[in-house]
């Protein structure tokens, strides 16, 4: 090799190494003097609402010229893997999104910054008080509520008409639902669809008048008679009025496609489905879930500031804007992107004027009867234990009572140690 060639290849090598070591836009320290750059990590924007989020960011940056926001997104299934690793490696983003299920473990682990310094002189009356409270812990505010969504009963009007049955109403009970489901099932059509898992169970438990934990909030109480009734209500469906796990076979979006094809009469699902059902060739509507004691599942997302950020004040400003500004509220409503958790429902009145479904106000019924979700520090284990117990019972491997008793014993272990 000639010397010239050697020098050239050495130069090329250095160039490649330099390029390889260059930081990406999401992590480069690029804020000029006197400005700050906020790194914000989110799961709810991808894949459908990236442009909407961008709109909110632009509006914020226009209103706060000294702050820039860099958005980093990940799909929900991978979001927490990435966030946990980033926190473990002390490279946490300044601000990030959390769902309520994960909020408690993050707050208890000390990963979230107490927002007390910022909220002290701030008027938070724009938020629905209950939402705000949800993200407080031990008297401290660790996150701001960002959005919520509710689970309702979706129903196919055409199938009800064909079976000459009256549409479900807010007064329906479980018995009404099961009776209708049985009449609607037949041929290619299933009467009902409600997954047998934790999220349906804790809500059904509340609908039966039971509670998940005892008064101390630690001792499992879901294996009482109400728990058995709730489990039996869920287990009455698969194989009779809805397809079995084997029939579903892990097919993605099985229930969504079934409903869209007009082969499903009633469907327990969330308001996030509205956008996707805009153009189906049949009539459909929603109603608050049937139960003698109304209890609904309302899922909430919040945004928090990292405990290790150097930009706490600017990050807080961004979160305030993202959660309660008019731009944010109208953008969310216009794109059917979950609802803003604001005290004044007028802020998102436009949401209820859109159709279908005609009965969008059912969302407010659900919120009024929202039942608190049982959440502990070791939440994922709790959910898996309950879901597995229900599957054991569904497969006939254990009687309902025994499956729930075993699960309760395991849950007590979790709350004792965590």
């Amino acid at each position: 090799m000639s010397r010239g060639l050697k020098a050239l290849s050495a130069f090329a090598l250095v160039a490649v190494l330099a390029a390889g070591c260059a930081k990406g836009s999401a992590t480069r320290e690029s804020a000029p003097e006197g400005t700050s750059n906020i790194k914000y990590f989110t799961f709810s924007a991808a894949p459908d609402h990236l442009a909407d989020l961008d709109k909110i960011v632009k509006a914020f940056e226009a209103a706060n010229p000294s702050i820039t926001v860099t958005v980093e997104t990940a799909p929900f299934t991978d979001y927490f893997t990435k966030l946990q690793t980033a926190i473990a490696g002390q490279t946490a983003p300044d601000a990030f999104e959390l769902n309520y299920e994960n909020f408690v473990s993050y707050a208890d682990a000390g990963a979230l910054r107490d927002l007390g310094d910022q909220t002290a002189g701030d008027d938070l009356s724009a938020y629905a008080p209950r939402s705000l409270q949800t993200f407080g812990r031990n008297g401290k505010q660790y996150a701001l509520p960002e959005s919520y969504s509710a689970v309702l009963l979706f129903y196919n009007k055409d199938l009800f008409d064909k079976a000459k049955l009256a549409y479900p109403t807010a007064d329906w009970t479980w018995d009404d639902e099961l009776a209708a489901a049985r009449k609607l099932t037949g041929g290619e059509v299933y009467g009902d669809f409600q997954p047998v898992q934790f999220f349906e169970f804790y809500k059904a438990l509340a609908q039966a008048g039971g509670s998940f934990f005892g008064p101390d909030g630690k001792q499992a109480a879901f294996n009482g008679p109400q728990g058995v009734a709730a489990a039996e209500f869920l287990l009455a469906k698969p194989g009779k009025v809805m397809p079995t796990v084997a029939q579903i076979g892990g097919t993605p979006d099985y229930d969504t496609n079934l409903f869209k094809k007009g082969r499903l009469a009633m469907w327990h699902n969330g308001v996030w489905q509205f956008a996707g059902l805009k153009d189906v060739p049949f009539g459909w509507d929603v109603v608050v879930e049937p139960a003698s004691t109304k209890a609904s599942a309302v899922f909430q997302n919040a945004v928090a500031v990292s405990a290790t950020t150097k930009n706490a004040a600017a990050a807080y400003k961004w979160l305030r804007f993202l959660t309660s500004s008019e731009v944010a509220a109208t953008t969310r409503v216009a794109s059917s992107w979950e609802l803003p958790p604001l005290a004044d429902a007028k802020a998102y009145a436009g949401y209820f004027e859109q159709t279908p479904p005609a009965n969008r106000k059912a969302v407010l019924d659900a919120v009024a009867s929202a039942t608190a979700e049982p959440v502990i520090a070791r939440q994922q284990e709790l959910q898996d234990i309950v879901t597995k117990a229900l599957e054991q019972a569904a497969a006939g491997k254990a009687p309902v009572q025994k499956a729930l008793d075993d699960a309760a014993a395991k849950v007590n272990e979790l709350t004792k140690s965590g």
Binding site: F80, T81, Q84, T85, I87, A88, S105, Y106, D108, A109, G110, A111, T244, V245, A246, Q247, G249, G250, T251, P252, R378, Q380, E381, D384, K388, E391, A394, A395, K397
Partner: protein, 325 residues
């Protein structure tokens, strides 16, 4: 070599065993100088460093890191708490972890023979045909590159207890088919079948590369001598394939102990999830879902020791049957 050789020592034995060196090399070894030794060491470093340095830095160092983590209680997002050997003690009592390890062993026991015999069959068959060989090779390799998500979907469909084609065929034969991936007993076999099917092409490719080393003239000579197909296979092809077979065996065991993707997509979240849970599935859940990284690391190190033991035993036994020609 004596019976007391260390397991590691046995590794290179077939190659080292009594080969005549050219006279020049022997003389050179006789007048070894410090300079020559240094140059020799330099050569070794030159050849090994490019792989050794990254492996040490980016695998061994994190391995030591995970050993350190295994002595703590840690959920990634909070502070670490020293618990000494507490996680290992807890592991001894953790029935779920032991069942997961047991399932992993069962998985390997079912998977390995299937995939080896199937891969060998495909490789031998392809070695015989001439027309369309490239096409067949490409087609058989497709499952290797198809994503597990789709493969799992299809297999769950084929093995559907009530509507699947497999059970329908069994019914025609008068057999009442099992519940496959929905049944505690049959979930693991379902995963084994799907995995073996998917990896056939992988084993085939390795064995095909090995088969290229079988000299045609040796086979021809054997044929002229009147050796039957079975004898040619048994006494010529199999011994010549033994280095590739050894490789497949060791690598499949190492990767089999770490089976994850296929179990995760086929049975997790299903009715037989608990009955078919494997070790790395538990490691993943403990790390990223349950925030019990210390427990996950302890389990990983137990798994590591098991794999190491199995590998060392395989390596020790290789001299009895692997022929490097």
């Amino acid at each position: 070599m004596s019976e007391t050789t260390s397991p590691a020592r046995a590794l290179d034995e077939p190659a080292a065993a009594g080969r005549a060196r050219p006279a020049a090399a022997v003389r050179a070894a006789g007048r070894r100088t410090a300079g020559a030794r240094l140059r020799k060491a330099g050569t070794v470093v030159l050849f090994l460093a490019p792989s050794a340095v990254p492996l040490v830095l980016f695998t061994l160092v994190p391995m030591v890191g995970s050993l350190w983590v295994s002595l703590h209680e840690w959920n990634l997002i909070g502070a670490m708490r020293w618990v000494g050997l507490g996680n290992y003690a807890a592991l001894l009592r953790d029935g779920d972890a032991w069942r997961a390890l047991g399932n992993t062993v069962l998985y390997i026991a079912g998977y390995l023979p299937l995939v080896y015999v199937g891969g060998l069959g495909l490789a031998l068959a392809l070695n015989r045909v001439t027309r369309g060989r490239d096409l067949f090779r490409g087609v058989y390799f497709l499952p290797v590159v198809t994503s597990w998500v789709v493969v799992a979907l299809i297999w769950k469909w084929l093995l559907n207890p009530s509507e699947g084609i497999v059970n329908k065929i069994l019914a025609l034969l008068g057999i009442d088919g099992p519940g496959w991936w929905t049944s505690d007993t049959w979930a693991l076999p379902s995963v084994i079948i799907a995995s073996a099917w998917k990896d056939l092409g992988f084993v085939m490719v390795i064995l095909l590369a090995g088969l290229q080393a079988v000299p045609g003239d040796v086979l021809e000579a054997a044929r002229v001598d009147g050796a039957g197909a079975w004898r040619r296979f048994r006494h010529i092809v199999l011994p010549l394939l033994s280095p590739s077979t050894f490789f497949v065996l060791v690598i499949s065991c190492i990767s089999g102990f770490q089976v994850f993707d296929q179990v995760y997509v086929m049975t997790s979240g299903g009715p037989a999830a608990a009955a078919s849970e494997v070790a790395v599935e538990r490691v993943y859940d403990l790390t990223f879902r349950y925030g019990r990284v210390g427990d996950a690391s302890a389990l990983s190190w137990v798994l590591f020791l098991v794999i190491l033991l199995v590998t060392v035993v395989q390596v020790r036994l290789q001299r009895r049957w692997v022929d490097y020609g």
